[in-house]
């Protein structure tokens, strides 16, 4: 394969990953690494390095659209970024000691987990908030978002230590695997801290970029960001996710989401099987 064909295929593959990631809400990063390793036979360490860069691009690129909606909370985001950035640094260090086949297996497990979470979101709406948390006001994390009738809906956050701990795990996975780990971030905010779903998803988008930036510098220093991969993949994922965000309203996401979830599940199984057979 010559460079032009390889680069062209990479660009369109990344564009598709970004597009599907945005349309389904699973994020492009989660299929990018399997795409590069399974189909393009790229070493997983290169794939993770370039995926981290793309994750920052999609998170920042979508920012303006998310701000316009008026749901995100800069305070919840900043507070939890303490946990995710520390986790990301740990993850980037762990990446040097973990065997590459083990990385592939962990990645496969995260893919399967993301698919399962995506499945549950359809059936199971977020639980209603309950009780009163003293620390929510003390840490200035309580807030409000624009409700359907235009009136502000107030909310508080619960179980702050639980959410903070889970965010550390999300950050570690991000630094180790080069993904945004949006699924874990939304789980921590939506399910554990009882932050309203819309606030969780939009705030999570901002946090993804900051978290990835914490470990991306370390990957660059280690020589894991290959320029020849970085430009087609980053430009492809970014264009795909921007296109996806634009057509989100018109697309029939229910069918697409089911298909994409199956693809993610299959990629997860493939990565685990591949990792196990090559390792032993």
């Amino acid at each position: 394969m010559t460079l032009s064909i390889f680069t062209g295929l990479l660009f369109f593959g990344s564009l598709t990953a970004g597009l599907l990631g945005a349309l389904t809400g699973l994020g492009g990063g989660v299929v990018l690494v399997p795409l590069l390793t399974v189909f393009f036979h790229v070493d997983i360490r290169y794939a993770i390095g370039v995926s981290l860069i793309s994750v920052i691009a999609t998170s920042s690129g979508a920012a303006a659209a998310y701000v316009r909606e008026g749901f995100s909370s800069v305070r919840i985001g900043m507070f939890l970024e303490v946990a995710t950035t520390l986790g990301a640094i740990l993850g980037a260090y762990l990446a040097t000691v973990v065997h590459t086949q083990a990385l592939a297996i962990i990645f496969g497990l995260v893919l399967i987990y993301s698919a399962v979470v995506s499945w549950q979101q359809k059936k199971d709406p977020a639980p209603e908030p309950q009780g009163h948390s003293r620390w929510s006001d003390k840490l200035e994390l309580s807030g409000s978002y624009p409700g359907r009738d235009g009136k502000p809906c107030k909310y508080e956050v619960e179980n702050i230590p639980g959410g903070f701990g889970l965010m550390f795990v999300a950050g570690t996975l991000s630094g180790l695997l080069g993904i945004g780990s949006g699924a874990v971030k939304v789980l921590a905010m939506d399910r554990v801290m009882k932050v309203p779903f819309k606030v969780s998803t939009t705030t999570s988008n901002f946090m993804i970029g900051v978290t990835a930036a914490a470990s991306a510098g370390i990957y660059l220093h280690r020589g894991l960001v290959a320029p020849g991969l970085a430009f087609p993949v980053m430009l492809g994922v970014l264009s795909g996710s921007l296109m996806g965000a634009r057509y989100l309203v018109r697309a029939r996401t229910a069918v697409l989401r089911s298909v994409f979830t199956l693809v993610v599940l299959a990629l997860g199984v493939e990565m685990i099987v591949n990792g196990v057979t090559k390792w032993f």
Binding site: T7, I53, G61, R75, V82, A88, A92, R222, P227, G228
Partner: protein
């Protein structure tokens, strides 16, 4: 920054400026990513011209050359017109974008005189700078 006290009745206990802060930060991120994409595109086109006809191989891991891994090397590469260095500059710009967002939030919290969140943003910034500037 202009503090528009009382113009937004939705917010309370001193958070009157948060919405405005987020709008500016959203723009900041957008401009950063646009700039990085532009540099990336130029670097990419030049890279394709320079390495035309080569066979790419990323199957086996070999670390990128040292000159493409730190500021000094990347800056020197750009001076001599190395397309790979230009792509790495775009990568640096991308990484700097969320960092700039945190710096901006820190300044905004300082203006709001919110000591707690000045401290929290400073911790996040310190962790980011550690990852970014830490010697190898």
């Amino acid at each position: 920054m202009v503090l528009e006290k009382g113009t937004n009745p939705e917010t309370e206990h001193g958070h009157f400026d948060d919405r405005r802060m987020e709008t500016i930060m959203g723009r900041l991120l957008q401009v950063g990513v646009l700039l990085a994409s532009f540099v990336m595109l130029i670097g990419g086109v030049l890279y394709m011209r320079a390495h035309h006809g080569e066979m790419p191989n990323y199957r086996v891991f070999s670390s990128e050359p040292l000159r493409l891994r730190h500021f000094g090397g990347i800056a020197a590469g750009i001076k001599v017109g190395d397309p790979a260095a230009m792509i790495q500059l775009a990568v640096l710009l991308l990484i700097a974008t969320p960092v700039a967002r945190v710096v901006f939030a820190l300044i905004a919290f300082l203006l709001e005189r919110d000591k707690l969140f000045v401290a929290i943003s400073s911790i996040v910034l310190a962790v980011l700078l550690y990852g970014f500037l830490r010697p190898q």
